[in-house]
């Protein structure tokens, strides 16, 4: 009932842990894997990156602004960490990659032979030359995906940024590059200023907005992408309960990723999956039957 298939990945339920959320340690990934359909590890690049200094996260009413800065131990080290996870979970492990160029991207998959799929982070809004810098450029998006597709047989997902005039153009570029699915979306460019110190709160000045506040915005991205793409869409942004998931599915997503909701509880995913299960038991439907339904006959 809750099973979904994305490319050749079989998920027992459509709720996936989003990248960067509790995703740097095998122990927390293992814990979240228990209930989620799949997990995405924290984005990793070729070399180690320090990330920004604290404060890197600001929680506000309904939203979170973060600029962690793609802190990462680098592909080699991180591969060791994730290998520990691989031994203890049977859930699909999606490895999220960041890089400055298509060449760098194509050097990464080899480090992660145990990955079930790769997600290209073309969308981090707060790391110079990385993420969004690529994700706003149709050609770069296409090239990066192509480059990764050439070096791996695993499914490759493109995680898109919403900070563009027309996300469908980027989605189409990803599809043309050979992406097996798009993930929509990463965070929205944001800033927060402290009125007492009169300075930006985050050490990096600007960050990305996530959490409930962005749900109607992320949902709009999924809606628009569904109207133009043939490849599956994985929704992400502000999901905190099963109804949110159903909204995303009706808008056209086949699965969803959950991030900021872990602020409320470690069992965020568990609760969502249970709610979905109850809902579909009640309606007697399979999740796949709901995909994109809201587009029909409006």
């Amino acid at each position: 009932m809750l099973e979904v298939v994305i490319s050749d990945l079989k998920l027992e339920n459509p709720v996936i842990l989003a990248s960067g959320i509790l995703g740097s340690k095998w122990s927390s990934l293992a814990k979240v894997a228990e209930f989620s359909g799949a997990i995405v590890a924290k984005s990793v690049g070729l070399n180690s990156r320090e990330g920004y200094k604290n404060p890197v996260v600001l929680n506000q009413e309904c939203s979170i602004v973060n600029a962690v800065g793609l802190a990462s131990p680098g592909a080699k080290e991180f591969s060791k960490e994730l290998e520990k996870l691989f031994k203890v979970t049977n859930k699909p492990l999606i490895v999220s990659l960041f890089a400055q160029s298509s060449e760098e991207f194509s050097s990464l998959p080899n480090y992660f032979p145990f990955a079930s799929a790769f997600e290209l982070n073309l969308s981090c809004p707060h790391a110079e030359k990385l993420g969004m810098a690529i994700g706003v450029d149709e050609k770069a998006v296409k090239d990066c995906i192509k480059a990764v597709k050439e070096v791996t047989d695993k499914p490759v997902f493109a995680k898109l940024t919403p900070n563009v005039t027309d996300i469908t153009k980027i989605g189409i570029a990803a599809e043309k590059g050979g992406a097996d699915a798009v993930v929509a979306v990463n965070t929205f460019k944001a800033i927060s200023i402290d009125v007492v110190s009169r300075k930006p709160v985050l050490s990096n000045v600007k960050g990305g907005l996530s959490g409930k506040a962005i749900k109607p915005l992320a949902l709009r991205c999924v809606w628009d992408l569904y109207e133009v793409l043939d490849i599956p869409i994985i929704g992400c942004g502000g999901i905190s309960n099963w109804k949110d998931v159903v909204e995303f599915i009706l808008a056209g997503a086949i699965a969803v990723q959950v991030g900021s909701a872990f602020y409320e509880s470690y069992r965020a995913v568990e609760g969502i999956v249970k709610g979905l299960n109850d809902y579909l038991s009640y309606t007697g439907e399979k999740i796949e039957e709901l995909v994109g339904l809201a587009h029909g006959g409006v």
């Binding site: 740097s24 973060n66 927060s192 110190s197 991030g259």
Partner: protein
């Protein structure tokens, strides 16, 4: 984030100050705040009373805090995390602090002292590090109180029984010794330990504070029950 103003700074010993704010931070004993020291970093600090933090200068930010003075303004997120649970009326309470681990335990002590029989132990290196006057002191060099560490003193004076409650915070090796001692006596469920770990978000999403057993110190802790941790 909101801002708080310093009402008073008390020097506790050479490299420890107690920073008292002009308002209650509305937290429980065991909870911590993410303190944004403008121009430096944002760091986790336990409440040492409803309106104070007690800080030891160990690095850039904490050393800057040693020089804080009345009127200074800091940013605060929180209080966050799981507080100490309260003992039952008939339980005998032990606090076992090591070094700056006295911070959260002081708040707990102030909360419990009028209604419970509380034995507070503070282990430090030498008498120059004495911060508060109520605990039984254990010094490594014997320059004050008991000669030895906090756990040794605790083992000496504690009545081990099921109606006891042991709260602890301090360096990892000390916590480990205490944990073992309680485990041996089958009293792990009488033990609560406040852990520390490197923190970024403080709200349970970034994963930097996660322990080997997959628990988030910021959200699932910092206070853990003895039975819930695997050292």
């Amino acid at each position: 984030m909101y801002c708080v103003k310093v009402a008073e700074v008390n020097k506790m010993c050479r490299d420890v100050v107690e920073i008292v704010f002009d308002r209650d931070l509305r937290g429980y004993p065991g909870q911590f705040v993410m303190l944004n020291v403008f121009g430096y970093e944002e760091i986790p600090l336990s409440l040492s009373s409803p309106k104070s933090l007690t800080v030891k200068g160990v690095g850039k930010t904490t050393k800057a805090l040693l020089n804080s003075k009345k009127g200074d303004v800091f940013g605060v997120r929180g209080p966050f995390g799981r507080p100490f649970s309260l003992p039952s009326v008939d339980e005998k309470v032990y606090l076992v602090a090591g070094g700056i681990g006295i911070a959260p335990l002081n708040y707990l002590y102030q909360t419990l002292k009028d209604e419970f029989e509380v034995i507070a132990i503070h282990g430090i290196r030498c008498k120059d590090e004495i911060m508060y006057d109520y605990p039984e002191i254990a010094t490594d060099d014997g320059s004050a109180g008991f000669k030895g560490n906090a756990v040794e003193l605790f083992l000496r004076i504690a009545d081990f029984e099921e109606k006891m409650r042991v709260y602890s915070c301090g360096p990892k090796p000390m916590l480990l010794n205490l944990y073992k001692a309680m485990k041996k006596r089958n009293l792990l469920d009488c033990l609560e330990i406040s852990l520390e770990n490197y923190m970024k978000c403080g709200i349970g999403i970034c994963g930097s504070c996660v322990t080997e057993c997959g628990k988030r110190v910021c959200k699932d802790g910092p206070v853990f029950k003895g039975i819930d941790i695997i050292f």
